[in-house]
């Protein structure tokens, strides 16, 4: 039996010493949990959680043509991004299918950071390399680590350990500064529905920064709770809720597709997406909440009057709502909040109701 060698983040040894339970994820050996998914989930909702997300793709795109290359790759107009800003974006196929979802950060006029999914790192880099031209330097990180510090206490911890730049970050802002004395890229973004930061440091500084953030009161959080947290916030997961067979409009991501820059909006998939934008939807991604005991999971059929009308793309037990929640593509006629459907959970019918997106929204404290 041959097992492909799994990649390890600079924090792999830390995960083992914290007794993290390791699992293969997109080619990486990653912690799925430490103390337990529910306890970790609650730590992020009530305190502060620290995630190793070094498996994600990070690539610097720099130079006078950087914005043009990214604009061609992304549905979002990166040229409109202010310096020190960040935005969610999609890479699409010529037919409008979603190749990946990403975050783009603008650190300077000609300096961007692209962050994509680990599972799509090769597809993203292939796309960006195909579009490369003189004046745009593409540099994937081979020697950095990335953390997410999330939760109601994340700002306080970040401000205590970070340089003044971190305290000055607005929502979806980014800047260079330091954390625990080490040079860091700082951003006020995340994937949990909480406020907090994403932080990139040199691989050689990953361990001391990780330890400093834990000492300051953050709990280590694995991929298991990352999934329950993002699903409560109704944030799509590539490979589950969106993929090459789904388009941004049916996924509720039309707000990331930007045609406003006119002729400059010549991104891959533009023509197909313009047509899709003006066409009626065949299906739409909705949030489902179970009305009884039972847990809907990825792949379970969704029924209306006994007829299969869709598929659950993500499903789990919500530690916050203490009931099963999920997302599914259903026909427009069944997509309004309040609509009653059933999910076929291994032959048993679980009554569910379409609810407004998201399931969980944090209280904003300013």
């Amino acid at each position: 039996m041959t097992t492909p060698t799994l990649r390890r983040t600079p924090l792999h040894g830390e995960h083992l010493s914290l007794r993290g339970r390791m699992t293969p994820f997109a080619g990486w050996d990653m912690p799925i949990q430490y103390s337990g998914i529910v306890e970790e989930h609650r730590a992020v909702r009530t305190g502060a959680g620290l995630f190793d997300v070094s498996h994600m793709l990070r690539a610097d795109v720099r130079g006078p043509a950087a914005a043009a290359v990214l604009r061609r790759a992304l549905t979002y107009n990166v040229g409109a991004l202010p310096i020190g800003g960040a935005h969610y974006a999609l890479l699409c196929e010529p037919d409008g299918g979603i190749r990946d979802d990403a975050f783009v950060y603008r650190l300077a006029a000609e300096e961007y950071l692209f962050i994509g999914n680990a599972s799509n790192a090769d597809a993203d880099l292939e796309r960006l390399r195909t579009l490369a031209r003189p004046g745009a330097e593409l540099r994937p990180h081979a020697d950095s680590a990335m953390f997410a510090l999330q939760g109601p206490r994340a700002l306080e911890i970040g401000r205590r350990l970070g340089s003044p730049e971190i305290a000055a970050l607005p929502l979806r802002g980014c800047a260079r500064g330091t954390v625990a004395g080490y040079a860091a890229f700082l951003a006020r973004t995340g994937y949990t529905g909480e406020d907090g930061y994403e932080i990139v440091v040199a691989a050689e500084h990953a361990v001391p920064v990780w330890r400093a953030l834990l000492s300051a009161g953050a709990s280590p959080i694995g991929l298991g709770a990352r999934d329950t947290l993002r699903l409560e916030a109704a944030l799509p997961l590539y490979g589950n809720d969106i993929d090459r067979t789904t388009n941004p409009y049916e996924a509720g991501l039309g707000w990331v597709v930007d045609f406003d820059d006119g002729d400059a909006a010549d991104f891959i998939g533009r023509d197909a997406l313009l047509a899709l934008k003006n066409a009626p939807f065949a299906r739409t991604l909705v949030c489902l909440r179970a009305e009884e005991r039972g847990v809907m999971r990825h792949g379970h059929p969704v029924l209306h009057n006994g007829q299969a009308v869709g598929i659950v793309t993500s499903g789990t037990f919500s530690p916050t709502l203490e009931v099963s929640i999920g997302m599914a593509y259903v026909p427009p006629a069944q997509s309004e909040p309040g609509a009653r459907l059933e999910v076929d959970v291994r032959g048993k019918r679980l009554p569910v109701r379409v609810v407004p997106r998201p399931f969980y929204r944090r209280e904003r404290t300013g």
């Binding site: 998914i37 529910v38 306890e39 298991g224 329950t228």
Partner: protein, 131 residues
């Protein structure tokens, strides 16, 4: 992970304890609950239902996944742990005591001979973890 000496075990990680009145209590092992993680629902038969050795009798659902339950012995259900309806996490916190699943009237105590002793089960788990 604890493996009490007084119980017999299946290779599907259930245990059974034979009591003096010839009824038996069954549950899942500490190792099983640890692998499942946070348990959120337990689906069990009702008193009067019959279960068969090594056949499925219910399901246990954790945040991560669902898992079938296989009975260590055959018999008739005489009692169900009602506390699990509201507190399924008892199976995580106390798999051999408060987190028991069913009390059965055993059909054939000779079936116990087909189960593993505590040392055998402990070895079995170690081998499984070593894979």
């Amino acid at each position: 992970m604890s493996v009490p000496d007084t119980l017999r075990y299946t290779n599907e990680h259930e245990w059974v304890r034979l009591d003096a009145d010839d009824t038996g209590v069954i549950g899942i092992t500490a190792h099983a609950q640890d692998q499942l993680g946070d348990i959120v629902f337990v689906e069990l038969p009702a008193p009067g239902d019959r279960v068969t050795q090594f056949e499925k009798f219910g399901e246990v659902e954790s945040v991560k996944a669902v898992s079938d339950l296989f009975s260590p012995v055959s018999g008739e259900v005489v009692e169900v742990n009602a506390a699990l309806t509201d507190q399924p996490e008892l199976v995580n916190g106390s798999p051999y005591e408060k987190g028991w699943l069913l009390r059965l009237r055993l059909s054939d105590t000779a079936e116990l001979d087909k189960l593993m002793s505590a040392p055998d089960y402990d070895r079995f788990v170690q081998e499984e973890l070593g894979d």
